[in-house]
Symmetry: C3
Subunit: 227 residues, 3 copies
Amino acid sequence: MSQTPLLLALDLTGTFAFGLNGALTAVRAVRLDLVGVITLGMMTALGGGIIRDVLIGSLPPATFNDVLYLGVAAAGALTAFFLSVELERFTGLITIFDAVGLGVFSVTGASKALEYGLGGVQAVLLGALTAVGGGTVRDMAIRQVPSVLTSDFYAVPALIGAALTVVAVSTEVHGVVTALLAAAVCFGIRMLGVRYNLRVPGTPRNRFASGGSGRVRRWWRRNRRGR
Amino acid sequence: MSQTPLLLALDLTGTFAFGLNGALTAVRAVRLDLVGVITLGMMTALGGGIIRDVLIGSLPPATFNDVLYLGVAAAGALTAFFLSVELERFTGLITIFDAVGLGVFSVTGASKALEYGLGGVQAVLLGALTAVGGGTVRDMAIRQVPSVLTSDFYAVPALIGAALTVVAVSTEVHGVVTALLAAAVCFGIRMLGVRYNLRVPGTPRNRFASGGSGRVRRWWRRNRRGR
Amino acid sequence: MSQTPLLLALDLTGTFAFGLNGALTAVRAVRLDLVGVITLGMMTALGGGIIRDVLIGSLPPATFNDVLYLGVAAAGALTAFFLSVELERFTGLITIFDAVGLGVFSVTGASKALEYGLGGVQAVLLGALTAVGGGTVRDMAIRQVPSVLTSDFYAVPALIGAALTVVAVSTEVHGVVTALLAAAVCFGIRMLGVRYNLRVPGTPRNRFASGGSGRVRRWWRRNRRGR
């Protein structure tokens, strides 16, 4: 099947999810007003795709070529704004929408990078960058250290989703099913990481406390001495 | 008339105003030294135009093609640095220069986006992005939440200035007069917003306090129930 | 000799040094975990070059065309992560690696800008931007005011290294020797600035304290009155 409609549908799903997520973040964490909420929602929704398109040289970015992106991002942000009281009942919705965007954008980022002729390793990285880009822009705008730096299971699932996509494309089995599967695996790992508080080795118990990556380093030094 | 000299003149005006503004911000708020003041001035002055040119794929950005931009931005920053004692008498000058840059860049951003073949809606957004880009870079560099997120009447006048430009171009009446008019309308709305402390509905009394966008949402829920 | 292998070798040296530096910063200052350390290392290592390539329109950036960059940046970050206990003995290593990256990237940034047809002044600025870009991304991600704004002898040596490169290229003596010389001069000035705490006139004794750029301005006013 042709890539383009699949890519577009997935991209719009991620755009809507990140629009909701960014706007909910603005409403809850920072209590911005209407314009601020929509702006943060759109920055979160469109940031990752714009970074991807700038880096592969697909300019102007898809976001600006197709008015659908702008509309969907704004719709996500407005939905979050007007339904935020109702949405507050469902704790964890911010995290879920973020994980949906992460999964979907890791697939579209990697696919589009391959389409533009980048190598496999680079496509994996660009996929992950597309996935974490929107959230990073969101965090920096409201002066938080980006999730990608503080939460292990933010970058890792994005890299896995992108890697699965590259494998599917290179083995020529890529299509709707594998794309949805790769996005679902990324989403699932992210949600498991949040649910069970998974960490890569060496993570400090509390962020930014001392001891940081000490455990891995200590483990490494012990093993090296033992040898 | 040809667009290019008009665009250039307006772009340079905005560059100078934002250079002054960024440097004054650095001198007053953060007390940076000479290099820091010039750097922040140039980042503020050139940030919006660079973002615009990257997104429409006009690379290298006008800023780097024409040494005039660099000179004018540096001149604005140096003026602010050496005259800052004199300029301190006029409170509100930072805001005025910011509003001038906002007005002018909303027009040039929208015009250039149309020239590069973008659609009307996208040109409006790109015009606003050009206008708020420099100030957003400035705010993030000195660790403030960007004005565009916290102040309603920052994004709104930029969107209006860009929209007027798109209307003028599409009705083929665009020229020096309409460009200056659109910039002036944007400038005027921004200054009125600052002067009378205008807000879009749902703005919290004090930034980041609770209650945020509660008023619009409460109003929305009441109306929905009433129906 | 051909520019390209020289540019590549220097670029990779800077990439490795900035990868080490960014990862050490993450381990020491912020105590991020493994994924965070590698991410910050790679952002620091690749940020400057990506900004350069986006601005000159060389897309996708060299970073994504040649898998070597990714490998070298990751190697630098991993080295810092696993040897950080050993590296902690050598205080000042963070500064030294930063200065190496600064020197090397000021040369490669300016050279590549000239290759892509930019003018001399712009090439100097783009060289400096390449050099300070990675560190600025690093500082903004961990919520510090970027070095380029607070430390005089960060931007100045980068500008000098880039200017020497432009002079060497325009007098057609550019080659391995002049490139290494220009990088070494930038490195040396940066290290002297750190060692002897050099400042451009008007620097406040303590950052962000009042008095900021007052000394230059007072000197300026006195001289102007005297005239």
